[in-house]
């Protein structure tokens, strides 16, 4: 037990948060270099970025 909770429950808590956080941070870093670099139209007819 750690602070009144069994160890497996702490594992579940970490599993519930860390993978999602790591995934979104890594993805955001990877794609932030190229997004917003477009030179041409991004949309179909009628709309303007």
């Amino acid at each position: 037990m750690i602070s009144g909770l069994p160890f497996p429950t702490w594992i579940l808590m970490a599993a519930a948060t860390l993978p999602g956080l790591i995934l979104i941070v890594v993805s955001t870093i990877i794609h932030s270099r190229t997004e917003g670099q477009d030179t041409g139209r991004r949309r179909g007819k009628g709309n303007d970025g």
């Binding site: 429950t9 579940l12 948060t17 670099q37 009628g46 709309n47 970025g49």
Partner: protein, 511 residues
């Protein structure tokens, strides 16, 4: 009788919502304006709007109640939802935005229709039927929550609470359209975020601290502290954990959430919104589960666990704060119902009336029709909710899984598998939807109460893939998906070049 402060806070909140509806109404004179805010929304709005649309009263009443009943076993829900949201924003959102802009799609059926070149409009009609049915059930469930919230907090009758909730929602949604929905979602999301930070902290403090709370819960039932709860490591426990985690799968393709990606101003907003959405869902879900656990210690023996949050609020907080918490519950309800009403209205007006029967109807007339249909669908949900009070948690999840099982497998296949065909999409949607309904009605109890989204997803994917393998893919699909890949890169790889002309890439791939 409720304190005057509670009612005062409620009135101020309702006036703000109606004000947002009026402010947004200027932009509702066209179909694109009414149903997608003219694709103009920034990152904070789409991030909070997606989460609050997905969460609803299910979060504040249902998930807190589940935390109350099963303790830390409810963390499997958090795991599924956080992963679902992270995957949606990192893998699905940007390709989906690119293709829907390419096709000038205003609705998800619009996108599917153009992606598969469906001239017969079968996809539109099937989509509209599924959306209409499930939104009816979902809206009724949320208005049930409104009735429960009003009667718990303010002492009105259940029926009175249902009617008041319905009137306010219908007012600002029918007037202001998607823009009012999205910006009110932002306000409601911020209130939900702050409350779900505050409530567990106050609950733990009232219990005498974290250690005291854990010791107290252990005294009630030690299994509440364990990952598998009272099931232990058994087939039933595994089924429960898988079912709970599966709830988050819907974030990958539920149509009411996909519209947030479509409404973003550009892909840069999506990139910024992803981390906001993930942090937000972590606070939402952890806060709700811990609130329920604290409530189990502080108020053991509640007849309806789904009232743990109102009971905690009215007992532990002064009247003004109680009023604000009630506002937050209503915010959660309204932020979902408004999105569902717009979704269902668009399915009828844009996907069926405009695209199939009356393509020459003016934008102004279509937008007006959209408002009328929004009100009609809302009234249908109201009448159903008045008929019977149901358990919010499972009723909402049934509607959630019906929509998700029908659309998510097909949307994911359409984005990432070139071999997906029109027939595969149609039969995949039907299979996902029918499996969900049949599972709940006939099989669920016999299979450890396994949550219906699991077999629904399974059937949706299986049938989409099997039928697609036996039919021909639409011409040009290869080129479009290759172009998307060149423009946005893969899920975990950047686009090939730093400066890309998207328009030329799409045209080039098609040659």
């Amino acid at each position: 009788m409720a304190e005057a402060e509670v009612i005062g806070v409620l009135i101020v909140y309702f006036m703000i919502l109606i004000g947002i509806g009026w402010w947004a109404s200027r932009d509702t004179q066209s179909v694109a304006g009414y149903y997608l805010a003219d694709k103009s929304l920034p990152s904070w709005v789409i991030a909070f709007s997606a989460n609050t649309t997905g969460e609803s009263a299910w979060l504040l009443l249902g998930l807190t109640g589940m935390g109350y009943m099963v303790g830390f076993h409810a963390l499997w829900i958090v795991l599924g939802e956080v992963l679902g949201v992270a995957l949606a924003w990192s893998v699905v959102a940007r390709p989906f935005k690119t293709l829907t802009d390419r096709y000038d799609a205003i609705t998800v059926p619009d996108y599917l229709n153009d992606r598969f070149g469906d001239r017969s409009h079968t996809i539109r009609v099937v989509s509209a039927i599924i959306i209409f049915t499930m939104v009816g059930a979902y809206t009724a469930a949320q208005l049930t929550a409104s009735g429960k919230a009003f009667s718990s907090f303010v002492g009105t009758s259940y029926e009175g609470g249902v009617v008041i909730g319905a009137i306010v929602i219908l007012l600002y949604t029918s007037i202001g359209g998607f823009k009012a929905v999205a910006y009110s979602d932002l306000l409601q999301g911020v209130l939900m975020f702050l409350s779900l930070l505050l409530l567990p902290i106050v609950g733990i403090w009232q219990a005498g601290g974290w250690r005291e709370l854990m010791n107290g819960i252990a005294a009630i039932d030690p299994a509440l502290l364990t990952p598998m709860g009272s099931y232990g490591l058994s087939l039933a426990g595994v089924a429960s954990a898988i079912g709970f985690a599966g709830i988050g799968l819907a974030f990958l393709g539920a149509p009411q959430l996909l519209t947030r990606f479509m409404s973003a101003r550009d892909r840069v907003q999506i990139l910024r919104a992803g981390p906001i959405a993930v942090v937000c869902i972590i606070v939402f879900d952890f806060g709700a589960v811990l609130t329920g656990i604290a409530g189990r210690f502080l108020f053991p023996g509640l007849e309806d666990p789904e009232t743990v949050l109102p009971v905690m609020s009215t007992t532990l907080f002064p009247p003004v704060l109680t009023g604000i918490i009630l506002v937050v519950v209503l915010a959660a309800i309204m932020s979902t119902v408004d999105s569902l009403l717009i979704l269902a209205s668009s399915a009828v007006v844009r996907d069926v009336v405009q695209q199939v029967f009356k393509p020459d109807l003016s934008d102004l007339k279509l937008a007006a029709l959209g408002k009328a249909v929004t009100i009609l669908i809302g009234l249908g949900g109201l009448i159903t909710a008045l008929g019977e009070s149901r358990t919010i948690f499972w009723f909402v999840l049934f509607a959630w899984s019906g929509l998700a099982s029908a659309f998510t497998p097909v949307v994911l296949c359409s984005l990432f598998w070139k071999r997906t065909t029109r027939a595969g999409a149609i039969w995949g949607m039907i299979a996902g939807f029918i499996t969900t309904v049949v599972w709940v009605l006939i099989f669920k109890e016999r299979f450890y109460d396994l949550y219906e989204m699991i077999p629904g997803f399974g059937a949706g994917f299986l049938v989409t893939i099997a039928v697609s393998l036996g039919t021909e893919p639409p011409p040009g699909a290869d080129a479009d998906l290759d172009a998307v890949r060149r423009v946005v890169g893969g899920p975990f790889s950047p686009a090939p070049s730093r400066r890309v002309d998207e328009h030329l890439i799409f045209e080039g791939e098609r040659k």
